[in-house]
Symmetry: C2
Subunit: 318 residues, 2 copies
Amino acid sequence: MYTLGFDIGGTKTMVGVADESGTVLAMRRFETRGQLGPKQALDRMKEAARQVVREVGVSVDAIGIGCGGPLDRKSGTLYTVPNLPGWEGICLTAELGNEFGVPAYLENDANAAAMGEHLFGAGKGVDDFVFMIVGTGIGGGIIANGRIYRGFGENAGEIGHHKIMPDGPPCPCGDRGCLEALASGTSIARIARERLAAKPESVLWQWISSPEEVTAQLVARAASEGDEFASGVWHECMYHLGIGIANVVNILNPRLVILGGGVTKAGSMLFEPVRRVVRERAMPALAADVEVVPAKNGDLVGLMGAFAVAIENVSCRA
Amino acid sequence: MYTLGFDIGGTKTMVGVADESGTVLAMRRFETRGQLGPKQALDRMKEAARQVVREVGVSVDAIGIGCGGPLDRKSGTLYTVPNLPGWEGICLTAELGNEFGVPAYLENDANAAAMGEHLFGAGKGVDDFVFMIVGTGIGGGIIANGRIYRGFGENAGEIGHHKIMPDGPPCPCGDRGCLEALASGTSIARIARERLAAKPESVLWQWISSPEEVTAQLVARAASEGDEFASGVWHECMYHLGIGIANVVNILNPRLVILGGGVTKAGSMLFEPVRRVVRERAMPALAADVEVVPAKNGDLVGLMGAFAVAIENVSCRA
């Protein structure tokens, strides 16, 4: 069985072909250019897909699509997606499925990534885990009893929007004090930026010409070089990330919490403090059950997820 | 099919016989007297059970037992249960199953209550809901895809111990800022008690001779009579309860959140503010999916749960 996967992000799209074991046989990565509108952007996707299929020289059996939500999985249709203006109502499964004459399946990106880690990554063989993507925002996918758990309205897993500081800072979701508002890459940068004026001694000033240029990556780098200000911001955010994960552990008692996304590239700078907070703040029996580990699919976490969406749907396990 | 149910609490125990539809045919309620040690207390339970079985005049097919944890469901054995000193290692399923020569099944009380609401209560026919008991503490049980969700180590559902104020007040679990430390009956009373000295004008002083006598029930009553101090404490706690429920809604996207336990006897004084907070603070699509409703099994929530434990296990759905 060969699957064609589409990982459609607001900025980048990946298209690839994989076999059933998740070995990627060919892939392309390109700008989504969603602002061109669905017609042109979809034509680019179809063209890239035809190329990878030709390159591999097989016929694909199913298509999996991961895309930022909100979306209607069952009809394969997007609602109003912030990063894809004008795409609402577009039926991605019909567009892409018809192009190749095979069934196509859509899933929101965080669930797809969780399914990819389950079939091919750090969650292989593990029936109960939580996947979290910590990047621009914080998204989540729940694998329960070996299956993706979607909840009543298929929107479960909004872990980034559980509140750990009810009167805390505003969140892009419109609420306040969400985990995402305290520990996403965007939030790490925002918190540093807000406080930087009062810290002329920070090494960050040597790397930027204005506070607007501060990124989570720079904060991590400055912290790793011993900058006191950056280290304070970084550890405050890691503390909140750890609290958020401890909460999920107490509610779901997972075997693993798998972390992916750009912020996790900080490696042990992230995992060490987060694991310590989880150990200290989750209930002892539940803390003992869980390991907090990096996603294995790395930069391909979305594309591997798209392959998993195809496989799980074809085998009726999704 | 007739089931014998045991709802073993730290203070009270209920024993009853029900038919498959959950109609209670006979029951007894008595002091657990766990401090007498397991031998004597179990003898009292067995005697009460023999009485109700005799009274109904049927032979029971299975036994369900709900008990406060921590416990090992599979072996039917208690670990160190705070309210049952000396009971660790007692195999309740063997003790009670052997007495009646039928299979017996053990479940922690919050999961059992969730299962009871699923089979016989507010969650009947609903595949995805969260049950929360708000009383002395705050416990939870998760029904996912129509089944109790236990997680990797069978301890999922510790909703009362997710933190909504990471540096908040101490919680009986040993951590700080947990939902239980901010919104349980015990916490409502504690918060009122701590602040009462500075509020000589509160009507609460007319009902008590020392702050130690303040209970959540008295706070609710004073609030309902317009006492400004009590009303402030009550609404602060309801705000936190609402935030905790909004968090669970965002993580699990349930169709229902079913609330049981002593504090819910406050009725609309509880449900109105909590529903408002959930509507305002859960993500709109998820808030629209959920209703926050009272448990239907009321004071029998634990006993009905015990019947459900028996039925679900016999039919291999547990």
